[in-house]
Amino acid sequence: MEELILKLKSEIIEALNLEEMSVDDIDSEAPLFIEGLGLDSIDALELTVLLEKKYALKIQTADEGKKILYSVKSMAEYISQNKK
């Protein structure tokens, strides 16, 4: 799981152009939106695309998305549980 979290952090930095951040700056359990990284709605869409593109996983509903995209840890858990 730790390896996946680290990989995911790098992918998030790249996908969201978080130029001034490193993987060490991202708290795995902190909320990604509003607090924490302070991401916005466009970032949420970009993370949805990231899951689909890199892990072939499609978020089906907004409620599901809120839970999955809560933190890096929640994203990693979803990937490890659902990756084909």
Partner: protein
């Protein structure tokens, strides 16, 4: 008779350089491609605005050009937010980003439309970025024309002053397509609102052109 307008500050970015009021204020030591150049310039001026990195190239260029003027003279500090306007023109619209976006949807087997690229597929988004950062709420318009039509811009900007739609206007041209880029923005206001008119230039087509080619 309409009030005299003056250009109090102007900024030009082209060929790996940033000039403010005709003075070179930043130059890359070695020639760099636009993405590296604009990042280095942004860091050089110690602007703390992480959203800059999420912008497309056109917005980065317009944002940094405007920021140089605003750092020198923030119009929102002197005028109401709704009295500050932004009028920008170019010839290639947002085509550079449109092409980037099309790359994300061209391949049916690799079809992942990028939302963060898509949001920049309109040139007036650049104006929006400048307005959001600086809380500018006045008139904003983006014109697309083949050449830098100074006479048209002069008439348009004059008109929004004459009809009392603005008290201060940032206007000019922000052009970016592939490796080619060039921007020039001017801050214009009424002469009566100028404290120091020594370095100011009368707002007229000849002077706009003179400052642009200088």
């Amino acid at each position: 008779m309409s009030e005299q307008l003056i250009i109090s500050n102007y900024c030009k970015i082209a060929d790996n350089t940033v000039s403010l009021n005709g003075k070179l204020i930043f130059k890359c030591d070695i020639e760099k491609k636009f993405p590296e150049f604009i990042k280095e310039a942004y860091k050089n001026f110690q602007i703390n605005y992480p959203k800059f990195f999420k912008m497309d190239s056109l917005s980065k260029l317009g944002f940094l050009t405007a920021e140089m003027i605003i750092k020198k003279e923030n119009p929102v500090g002197n005028f109401k937010n709704e009295d500050v306007s932004i009028i920008i023109t170019n010839s290639s619209s947002s085509l550079d980003t449109d092409i980037e976006y099309s790359k994300t949807i061209n391949d049916a087997d690799n079809y992942f439309p990028s939302p963060s690229v898509f949001v920049y597929t309109l040139p007036n988004i650049m104006i929006g970025e400048i307005c959001i950062k600086n809380k500018i709420n006045g008139e904003n318009t983006f014109f697309i024309s083949e050449k830098f039509d100074i006479d048209f811009l002069y008439k348009y900007v004059s008109n929004i002053f004459e009809t009392n739609k603005t008290q201060c206007c940032i206007f000019g041209r922000v052009e970016l397509m592939g490796e080619k880029y060039e921007s020039v923005l001017y801050l214009v206001k009424k002469a009566k609102d100028c404290i120091n008119t020594n370095e100011s230039v009368i707002f007229e087509p000849e002077n706009i052109k003179k400052l642009y080619i200088s």
